[in-house]
């Protein structure tokens, strides 16, 4: 067997498995175990309570809207960063990562200050009757803020690798700009977009720190699922907290599985043979 630069399979696989077991599987198993300590009826009563269902609706709806917004805005941002040279491009490029670096609570407080009715953005917006802070709109703003780097950073490298000759080939074949975008560019970006979208959506579902400051946290209207789980925790009702968390876990799993399947489909053409 060829000697590799990095340690061989037994050591590498061992480290990987131990890591996955301790850091990922163990906490998740504890969560499932705790939730399972409830009987099926109790479990169902907790996860299907009106307040819980309302929190799922708020969380999923806001995460969807935030992700769709990020899809367009993040792709435009990646396009501009890759295809154009302008003063300050490197600065913008660096700023994209800021939401990752910033503590989410800081982001939440900053966004709340900006969008409160006496804030820089909230003031003018309230004049035209748009309220952002303490509404679902605020949750969406916080979610898209914290998850936009996922889309930019997954699309950017693929765009950089995209051969400009492909677009020229489309032009010489008589295709309009729209046909080239939808027929050539978009399909080639789709795998990266799907990866970015699934990460962005997953992050939005689980976001906590940035949202609780701006959301207002009214049960049935601006209470997210992560907060509800946290409230149950504060009440020392660990099984109920675990039950609600298990629903989020399941949602995230299903969503990632679906996007992985879609990605495999979009990448069909790279299969050899």
């Amino acid at each position: 067997m060829r000697r590799r630069v990095l340690p061989g399979l037994p050591l590498a696989l061992g480290i990987t498995l131990v890591y996955v077991a301790i850091i990922v599987v163990l906490p998740l198993a504890a969560l499932v175990f705790k939730a399972a300590s409830l009987g099926p009826e109790d479990y169902w009563r907790i996860v299907s309570s009106d307040r819980a269902v309302a929190s799922y609706r708020v969380t999923v709806t806001c995460a969807l809207v935030a992700t769709v917004f990020n899809l367009f805005f993040g792709m435009a941002l990646a396009w501009v960063l890759v295809r154009y040279r302008f003063p300050g491009r490197r600065l913008v490029d660096a700023l994209v990562d800021l939401p990752f670096a910033l503590p989410t609570a800081v982001a939440g407080i900053a966004l709340t200050t900006l969008f409160a009715t006496n804030g820089w953005f909230g003031g003018p917006l309230s004049v035209i009757g748009v309220k952002v802070a303490y509404t679902p709109l605020g949750i969406m703003v916080a979610m898209s803020f914290t998850s936009i780097p996922f889309i930019v950073r997954t699309v950017q490298p693929v765009l950089e690798e995209l051969d400009p000759a492909l677009e020229e080939a489309g032009q010489t074949l008589g295709a309009s700009d729209l046909s080239i975008f939808f027929g050539v560019i978009l399909p080639l970006l789709t795998p990266a977009l799907l990866a970015g979208v699934s990460l962005s959506f997953a992050r939005s579902l689980g976001e906590f720190g940035a949202i609780i400051f701006i959301a207002g946290n009214q049960p049935f209207s601006t209470e997210i699922t992560a907060l509800l789980a946290f409230i149950r925790l504060e009440e020392y009702d660990y099984p109920a907290s675990a039950a609600i968390a298990s629903v989020m876990l399941l949602t995230a799993f299903v969503m990632l599985a679906i996007t992985n399947l879609m990605q495999a489909r979009a990448l069909r053409y790279t299969a050899r043979g």
Binding site: D163, L166, E168, T172, Y269
Partner: protein, 340 residues
């Protein structure tokens, strides 16, 4: 469709890429733009395609001034050096793309038939459902050609079409492209830096240097009568010796060469390695053998003249002499140019 370039100029930010190039290409002709990198050959091709705009001058397709027609309406087929096949489409879908996006609507059956016809033409019938990543470089370039032909272009433009392929595939594809051109009779312009490719394939060769045409003509004309030392050097191995030109003769160490019409003064003679004979009887220019290189069908001898100028020449495989032996170089055929 004949193409005419009238004094076309293209400048990039800091340098002039093409300086006033005029060129006539007859309908059905296969013309090669030949030059070293940076000679402006690809820029000229891209201007004909409409992928670059000329800063001055005009490009005519037939009687129509095509200078400002956008690329998508110009009706050209373009083959890129690195194929530029759409990687997410099968071979068949790549070829069909131009017909699908065309303003002229075609039925799916008509498109499928045309794809089949083109696949037969480029001899890739079995590969319709493969992706570009699953076929070889030579096959990809044939698909790229079929895709370019699918939209019934008025002219076919190829940018270093065989540059990325290995030597054997390149030779096969060259002959094959010539055959397709003869079948279809489409006006074709291609760019290459490989003189062998240009001479092998083209009806007419246009040689460029530093954004200007230095010579154009049939392969025979440019080979037999290179216009200047650059063309002579570029078309193949050439030796160069300093010469004195006096009264229609060029003298190299007392050996005289015909130099009709070359001005008196400093000059140079250029000659091919095949046009030299090694002699031991004192006729020619004194030289010493420095090295002998063996090739399958000949020996290449590296020699140094008495005045210290290197000369290379080819001999029969039986050439018996070795490094260090002295003798004389008889130059049977040479071209004389005034010093630039």
């Amino acid at each position: 469709m004949n193409i005419r370039l009238d004094n076309v100029v293209k400048e990039f930010e800091t340098f002039r890429a093409v300086h006033g190039v005029s060129l006539d290409i007859e309908s059905g002709e296969l013309v090669a733009l030949l030059g070293p990198s940076g000679s402006g050959k690809t820029t000229i091709l891209r201007m004909v395609a409409g992928l670059e705009y000329a800063d001055a001058g005009a490009i005519y397709f037939g009687d129509e001034n095509a200078t400002d027609i956008p690329v998508r309406d110009r009706g050209v087929g373009f083959v890129f050096q690195h194929y530029a096949l759409f990687p997410h489409m099968t071979v068949g879908e790549n070829i069909a793309f131009g017909m699908k996006v065309s303003k002229v609507k075609r039925s799916p059956q008509a498109i499928a038939e045309r794809v089949k016809e083109l696949l037969d033409l480029v001899q890739l019938s079995g590969l319709r459902d493969r992706f570009p990543g699953q076929i070889s470089g030579g096959q990809r370039q044939r698909v790229a050609l079929a895709r370019a032909l699918a939209v019934d272009p008025r002219v076919l433009l190829l940018d270093e079409p065989f540059g990325a392929l290995d030597a054997n595939v390149r030779r096969d594809l060259r002959r094959w492209l010539r055959k397709i051109h003869d079948e279809l009779g489409i006006t074709t312009l291609f760019v290459t830096h490989d003189q062998e490719e240009a001479l092998d394939l083209a009806d007419r060769v246009v040689i460029l240097n530093k954004g200007r045409i230095v010579q154009e003509g049939t392969p025979e004309a440019v080979c037999r009568n290179p216009a200047d030392a650059f063309v002579m050097n570029f078309l193949g191995d050439a030796n160069r010796l300093d010469a004195d030109i006096r009264g229609g003769k060029a003298y190299v160490e007392d050996v005289a060469f015909e130099a009709d019409g070359v001005a008196d003064g400093g000059g140079q003679i250029l000659f091919r390695p095949a046009d030299v004979t090694w002699r031991e009887d004192g006729q020619g220019i004194a030289a010493k053998i420095v090295r002998v290189i063996d090739r399958p069908d000949s020996r290449r001898v590296l020699a140094m003249t008495g005045s210290g100028q290197p000369v290379e020449f080819d001999t029969a495989p039986e050439f018996p002499h070795r490094k260090g032996e002295a003798g004389f170089l008889q130059i049977r055929r040479a071209r004389v140019y005034a010093s630039a």
